[in-house]
Subunit: 207 residues, 2 copies
């Protein structure tokens, strides 16, 4: 069959189509670059209408990664979607969902494993980049921890997907009273690929 086989050309053409079709006018240049990559991950040029971010989100993420911040991910698929070679400081990518302590903690707290796993991030949250791409309960639990005084991440990428709690947890992130830098996608859409794509965009300017 006849199709484009040059990976670099495919990327270039993809980003060119996205920039032609998507309305990025609501975003500053640095954030627009992130949104382009999020669109690339899901194939939907109408995603910008649901993207919401604090004004400092992109710069906070870029600077944190340059400073060597670890990345805390709620799901292995998120961790897996982060392209290690793009990370500027060989930043650590951490997912505690399969940590041996997580199931017991979940039972004790009467919550999901995804939420319990977030509790294990507490000691290293300060200045980190948090990436929630799957579980609304992870994002809710994180916000609860932060309201209770846990150290502040540099950026929260909160893009869980789904039908129960996803829209609500993302609305709570966007409305947080702590002034936390955040990036989210309103509503039900989201997921590990979109969340990881945001990290990949922040990690390197290379398209």
């Amino acid at each position: 069959m006849n199709y484009v086989k040059d990976g670099a050309a495919i990327y270039r053409e993809s980003f060119s189509i996205i920039r032609r079709e998507a309305d990025l006018s609501a975003f500053q240049t640095d954030l627009a670059r992130v949104v382009v990559r999020m669109i690339h991950a899901c194939g939907m040029t109408d995603l910008p209408q649901d993207v919401q971010a604090s004004p400092d989100a992109a710069s906070a993420g870029v600077n944190a990664l340059l400073a060597g911040a670890p990345l805390f991910c709620d799901a292995t698929m998120v961790a897996n979607g982060i392209t290690r070679s793009r990370l500027p400081q060989n930043n650590e990518v951490i997912c505690t969902l399969s940590d041996a302590r997580t199931p017991e903690l979940a039972a004790k707290l009467r919550t999901t494993r995804s939420a319990a796993a977030v509790g294990l991030w507490r000691d290293r949250l300060a200045g980190s980049v948090v990436v929630v791409g799957n579980a609304p309960t992870a994002l809710f639990h994180l916000l609860d921890m932060l309201e209770d005084g846990a150290a502040r991440p540099a950026l929260i990428i909160g893009i869980p997907v789904g039908f129960v709690g996803a829209a609500e947890s993302k609305a709570a992130l966007a409305a947080n009273r702590l002034g936390l830098p955040f990036l989210t996608v309103r509503g039900r859409r989201g997921g590990s690929a979109i969340a990881a794509a945001a990290v990949n965009a922040l990690a390197s300017e290379e398209e």
Copy 2:
């Protein structure tokens, strides 16, 4: 914050919302169950309008997995999204993208690593379940191999995402002249989460 923390209840409520909102009338019962899980993975109840499958897709997938078929995935995120505990025969999940031979093969064939990696599946393709959730070039390359006489998989789940070749590769899969059992999502939408969700639905009836 006040939110549902019971994982099983979240699943039940999610699937109930999906079945209430999505139009599944075009699908037989076994395929409808797969589509529900695909919707769950992306948060979009309008996905069914783009889902296309051969009549035997669901039964071919279920039977192959029950018979112990290996799963060939084009991306580690796809492999990662497959819930191992749902697989009926502890089926092997294989992704050759990081195989040591892949870069050299890609250079030799002047194609992407994703496409070259598919070439390494050749000896074990017969009766397998192929899951493409990322790269259109992987799906194109697979179809070329099959037209050239490679052994037939039991089912091809072909759901790459994106702007260059995604829609075209999926249309080629749906129009294949070999009568290959397939499941796809027309157009640009797709991705590793949707593809892995289809596998997870075929692997076990448990919701």
